[in-house]
């Protein structure tokens, strides 16, 4: 069956009433969690994970992925109207988006942001469609030693691109790998650090850790703040941008699509990095750079497009290699595994329905989000009027039920609460949680592939330096160096630091 025929089959799944319904639910919930500070895509996906258990894997993954890119759309709303980024990738949008809103131009900012998100999202799905299948074919031919090299590379890159202290990031990677060893040893079945508890035999629950480290720690951090939220309310008729806005934002949307697409391959914080790079690029190329920070529409269009263009690219390593590059795709990996679907090179041959159904649903989801976000922006903003302390109660109750229902185990609630407390303390001290979670997901496979490669080679470490490994290592390193070099040329780190100081 050709790729086109498979895509048509994917559309038949995505356009079924179930596909559409769950894609809509995912996009709607994603937008809500994107709007609400303290709930990012990861927490949003974990909360609805139990809902997918009774569903066909393709439909379940369509819904979870909808939450992922829906949150990217939703995050921009609060950035523009309240100057509170709904999630990390919308931090840059606060700068010019909120300035535009203060000048009574919230409507065009929201409109351009939604259109840019749509274009960026669609471009990245095209990339996913064309790049993932050939990449998967290459991956099938390689062995465990190359897998080890790839995973080590991914973890190294996470440590390098991190905005915080590198030692702290590496520490989080090591801690994540260490926590990943809890449970039965993959190769011998020997229990490790389970202390006789059968609940720990399968390892620490990823959902519980993700909710604790990201969701709960964020809630605890937000409880320290006592600011009241004042949102600017745009009217629907004010949404139409002026010709000047369209002219200024069109090239920014084009560049944002390319930047987001390229940066999506960087593991760790690619969605965040891409927005800073896009902002820096737009400022550098602008005829009026002094307008940036004072309500330049290109400063909204570029970053918003870029952070949505990342969503499709971030799925490439997950679906083609089975290696998640950001925490949200790590959760998707976990969800796929729960459903008995193994992401990786064999996904396209073993379960093409999942891959192509997902690709098709991403096109449809982007259209749903475009039509959903603009008319309903008033409703989404009104969510912010609910006192945060009330929201906390609702979020905690849903989180606890969600975490418990994955394995029907109280241990998982313990893991969530304790990791939430630890995450809160660590985040206050400048430790990042994303590297820990990614390492936790990769740890199991990294160790298994490492030991398997050594067994196959008769204990020779030279297996990690065979031709295939070196070629993969060299090409990935070269690509990453190029991307990182571009980021530095365009002053990503400077703009990142500037914004950190500003906030």
């Amino acid at each position: 069956m050709t790729g086109f025929e498979q895509l048509v089959r994917g559309f038949s799944v995505a356009l079924s009433w179930k596909g559409l319904l769950y894609c809509f639910i995912g996009c709607l919930w994603g937008t809500v969690v994107g709007v609400l500070p303290g709930l990012g895509p990861l927490a949003g996906m974990t909360l609805l994970l139990p809902l997918t258990f009774g569903l066909d894997p393709t439909i379940g993954i369509i819904m979870l992925t909808g939450i992922f890119y829906g949150a990217m759309y939703g995050g921009s709303t609060t950035s523009i109207l309240v100057r509170i980024p709904g999630e990390a990738a919308s931090v840059v949008t606060c700068i010019d988006g909120y300035e535009m809103a203060r000048q009574g131009r919230a409507g065009p900012a929201l409109m351009i942001s939604a259109v840019g998100s749509f274009i960026g999202g669609t471009v990245s799905v095209l990339g996913l469609m064309f790049i993932a299948p050939p990449l998967a074919k290459v991956m099938i031919a390689i062995g465990p030693s190359v897998e080890v090299v790839l995973m080590l590379l991914a973890l190294a890159v996470i440590s390098i691109v991190s905005a915080g202290s590198r030692i702290k990031t590496v520490t989080m990677v090591v801690l994540g790998l260490l926590l990943g060893t809890i449970g039965l040893d993959n190769l011998t079945g020997a229990p490790r650090f389970t202390f006789g508890s059968p609940e720990l035999s399968g390892g620490l629950s990823f959902a519980a850790l993700a909710i604790g480290l990201f969701g709960l720690s964020e809630i605890l951090l937000n409880l320290e703040k006592t600011e009241t939220i004042k949102a600017i309310q745009p009217k629907l008729r004010d949404l139409i941008p002026r010709w000047n806005d369209v002219r200024d934002s069109a090239p920014a949307i084009g560049r944002g699509s390319v930047i987001g697409f390229i940066f999506g391959i960087i593991p760790g914080v690619s969605h965040v990095v891409s927005t800073f790079v896009s902002y820096a690029v737009e400022k550098k190329l602008s005829k009026n750079p002094e307008q940036f920070g004072k309500g330049a529409i290109a400063g909204v269009a570029g970053p918003e497009t870029a952070n949505n263009a990342v969503t499709g690219t971030a799925m490439i390593p997950l679906l083609a290699l089975g290696i998640p590059s950001i925490p949200a795709t790590a959760l998707l990996l976990s969800a796929l595994t729960i459903h008995g679907v193994q992401p990786g090179p064999l996904l396209l041959t073993d379960r093409p329905d999942v891959f192509w159904g997902l690709v098709a649903s991403m096109y449809i989801g982007n259209i749903i989000l475009l039509t959903l976000n603009l008319p309903l922006v008033g409703i989404f903003v009104n969510l912010l009027r609910i006192p945060y302390q009330w929201l906390v109660v609702a979020i905690l109750v849903i989180s606890i039920i969600g975490v418990y229902s994955v394995n029907s185990s109280v241990i998982d609630i313990w893991i969530m609460v304790v990791s939430g407390g630890i995450g809160y303390l660590l985040r206050k001290l400048g430790y990042e949680m994303a590297p820990l979670l990614l390492a936790l997901v990769l740890g199991d496979r990294l160790e298994a592939s490492f030991r398997l490669a050594l067994t196959m080679s008769g204990g020779s470490y030279a297996t990690f330096l065979d031709t295939a490994s070196v070629v993969v290592l060299g090409s990935v390193l070269g690509l990453l160096l190029l991307v990182q070099g571009l980021a530095w040329v365009f002053g990503y780190r400077k703009s990142f630091t500037d914004e950190a100081e500003r906030t």
């Binding site: 009774g54 260490l178 302390q389 009330w390 609630i413 030991r451």
Partner: protein
């Protein structure tokens, strides 16, 4: 003002100086700790974690360098964690960054965390809905500052909604505690 006994490195921070000038008394909570001191404590905790993992891993079959056993990987990682923690400790002592005061123990954070710790203890004993209803009521009264009556009513309505959504619509099976037998 921060408790002098708990603050050593940053006694001359602007906040403290201001508080001293005005003679005002800082509330007991939150407590203020210098970022260097906090960083050292975190490094110590991480090192301890690494040591425990390494010790436990050493009790497992380590295999040999060419054919590692189940204990090999965690032993190496535990050792690495100890090493990295030491580097963080050294960095926090030597680095030139400003020793900024960090606040720990905000009452709202402590109340929420304490309430959450009670949840796994009571979850199977009292059942999910009663436990989560109690959690909601406590948080609404103590964090959202609503009246006890409103807190209880809202929690009851919320739990009824949860039961319908999760129990009936989604078929999620949650423990029902004392009602396990009759139903």
């Amino acid at each position: 003002m921060a408790d002098p006994a708990s603050v050593t490195d940053h006694a001359s921070s602007p906040q403290d100086a201001e508080a001293a000038d005005t003679g005002s008394r800082r509330p007991f909570l939150p407590r203020v700790i210098g970022s260097r001191c906090a960083s050292l404590l975190a490094a110590g905790a991480l090192a301890l974690t690494g040591l425990i993992f390494a010790w436990q891993a050493s009790l497992l079959d380590l295999g040999h360098i060419g054919l590692p056993g189940p204990g090999f990987f965690p032993l190496v990682l535990g050792g690495l964690l100890v090493l990295l923690s030491a580097l963080i400790a050294i960095e926090s002592r030597l680095a030139s960054f400003k020793d900024e005061p960090l606040e720990f123990g905000h009452p709202q954070v402590l109340i929420t965390f304490a309430a959450l710790l009670a949840v796994p203890l009571l979850f199977e004993l009292l059942g999910a809905y009663i436990t989560l209803g109690l959690l909601s009521a406590v948080l609404l009264v103590l964090i959202a500052r609503v009246s006890v009556l409103l807190g209880v009513v809202c929690s009851a309505v919320g739990m009824a909604a949860c039961w319908y959504l999760f129990g009936e619509l989604l078929g999620v099976r949650l423990p029902i505690g004392p009602f396990e037998g009759p139903f």
